[in-house]
Structures are given as C-alpha cells and as structure tokens.
Symmetry: C2
Subunit: 197 residues, 2 copies
Amino acid sequence: MTTPAPRRRGRPGHDLDAVLSAAVLLFNERGYDATSMFDIAESLGITKSSVYHHISGKEQLLQMAMDRALDGLFEAAEDVTRLDRPAIERLEQLIRRSVLVLAERFEFVTVLLRVRGNTAVEQHALSRRREFDTVVTELVKQAQAEGGVRPDVDPATAARLLLGMVNSLTEWYRPRPGGADAIADAVSTVAFEGLRM
Amino acid sequence: MTTPAPRRRGRPGHDLDAVLSAAVLLFNERGYDATSMFDIAESLGITKSSVYHHISGKEQLLQMAMDRALDGLFEAAEDVTRLDRPAIERLEQLIRRSVLVLAERFEFVTVLLRVRGNTAVEQHALSRRREFDTVVTELVKQAQAEGGVRPDVDPATAARLLLGMVNSLTEWYRPRPGGADAIADAVSTVAFEGLRM
C-alpha cells in the first residue's frame, strides 16, 4: 500500500504527492545519488525544512516511488487471478495491464527499473520485482499445461522476454492520451501472435 | 572500429584489453560516475600512471566499451544486408545475431544500455543506437511490403519491442557456454511465431 498523502500540511499546494512527483522527476533526470533534498525543495520553490514536514528523507521518497509502481503491478496480478478464464487469457490480460500501469505510473516505474539493489530498500524492491516475475512465469506454465501456450519455450525465459518488452517502454515511450492502449495492442500482438504473417 | 590493443606496452599482462575489461566491470558494478581511474588501477593491482600508459582517461574507456558493443551490432547489420533472402529472414537473422552479440560482449552492451546521454561521447553512442533502431525499423517495413510481417503493427514500435526483448537480457541473462543460442531461439520464437498455440 502507498501512504496516503496528508493534504495541506506544508505550504498550500505542496503536499506529499507534489514532493514525491518532484523527487521522482529529479531521480530520473540526474539519478538518485546525484539528487539532494535541497534539489527537491528548490525544484518546488520551497525550503528544505518544508520538505521534511512531509517525509523523513530521500530514501523514503525512493521507497514510495517504487511502491507506487509495484502496487500497480500487483493489483493487476490480483485482478487477473480472479478472472474465470483460461490461463493464456489471464496472461495476456496481465501483460496488457502491465503496459497500462507503466504508462500511467511512468516516472515511478522508471525509478523502479533503474534500481540496482545497493541498499535494503532497493533489495526489497528487487525481491518484489522477482515475485512479480514468478507470477508471470506461473501463468505461462499453467497456460502451457492447458495447451494455450506453445510448449517449446521455457516458462521463466518467456516471462522475462514478455516483461523485457513491457519494461523497454521506459526507454522509448512517452506517455500521451490514448497512447497506452495502442502500445498494449502492439505488445500483445507481437508476444502472442508473432510478427510473421 | 575499436582501437587495436597495443600489446605489452605497460606491465606484462596489463595491456589495453585488460584495462578496458577491468574498467567495464567496475562501471557496471558501481556506475561510471562512481568509478575512478584509481579504482581501475587498484582492481588490476597496478599504479594509476600505468593505466595512463594505455589511455587518456576514463571517458576514452567508456567510448571504447560502447564502440565494442555498437561495432558488433553494426557488423551484424552489414552481414545481414548482404544476404539474398526475404526481408523477414534478414530481420530474424539480425535479431538472432543481436542476441549473440549481447551474450559475447555482455559487459560492453550493459555499459552501452545504461548511458543516458550526459556528455558528447554518450550522445554519440545514443545516436548510433538510434541509427541501429532505424536499420531494424526499415527491415520491418520491407518485410511488411513483401507480405512477410503482419501489416497491423507500426514498424518503429515493432522494432523497439524486438530490441526491448533483446536488450532486456542485460538485466537477467548470465552468459554461459551454449546459453546464447537457446536464448536466441526463444527470442525468435516469441517475436516471430508468438506464444499462442
């Protein structure tokens, strides 16, 4: 769960969400290590102590950013589990939903995917990512057992290639209204139907 | 072209290739910015001035690393252009070869894919990457015109998803003998045949 934003606790218009958004923009632009709490305050036009009204420090912002991304992915996984449909359809839904989460929470997912596990907070996020990989791998296995997915591809490899395609969006996609559905279609077509005529 | 390694110019066994390999390992482990020339020398058990026998500085090492990755990809693109085969087969070959380049030059490609364009050297590498994307996009277009690739996917999007799958290997693949061919098969199967039975 993400922490609910305490409204109007600092200067009007600079609640926790605003601080988090400003931080995440800087993390993606300059890198997490190169961003200071002063930089975050400066980009909002407020003092550093106003920023500390909202949060304990930079690492809390990193954790919150990664949680926004991961919570979105796990909510999608839960919704898909509840569907009374063949595994291949649940898998396809989950891949489409992952594209939509990435498009909606673009800056948060970008932060998440650049993390290398240098601290306990980063290690925790990496272990949640691996957990999500396992959810996708298990869906591929089930779909193979049901005859929905071809049996000649290793399930863990298939899961990583599917998520590799989705995650590559942080490198080249720029969010725009209606854009995410078209990309979700393209990912789904390539992954499930293949490019060959 | 990569600069040929001047053999035995520094201490025996510490030629340019050894310096480059040591540098690239550190760049990937700690990040380029966090790696100093002293760190590189220390990891080889030689002095910093011995390292400067071989190269002008850290940025030259970065450039050489990225060139090794990019030269491999462009050699593959040239070889494929010479094939007298339908575009879809040339496209498939190029994607397979890209997987093999990534596996053979794993540490160099990893350096390349983490670069964000903060300097002229990085900008140049990014522009060569975009040039490679264009080569793949053009092959998709040709293959669509020949009826080899389905017409309902935007060629630039298809190219980015194909390369997104290939590039994701730097995140999860660990090179081992014979491993690259199996991964090239899996990428090719997912991308061209699709997962659906």
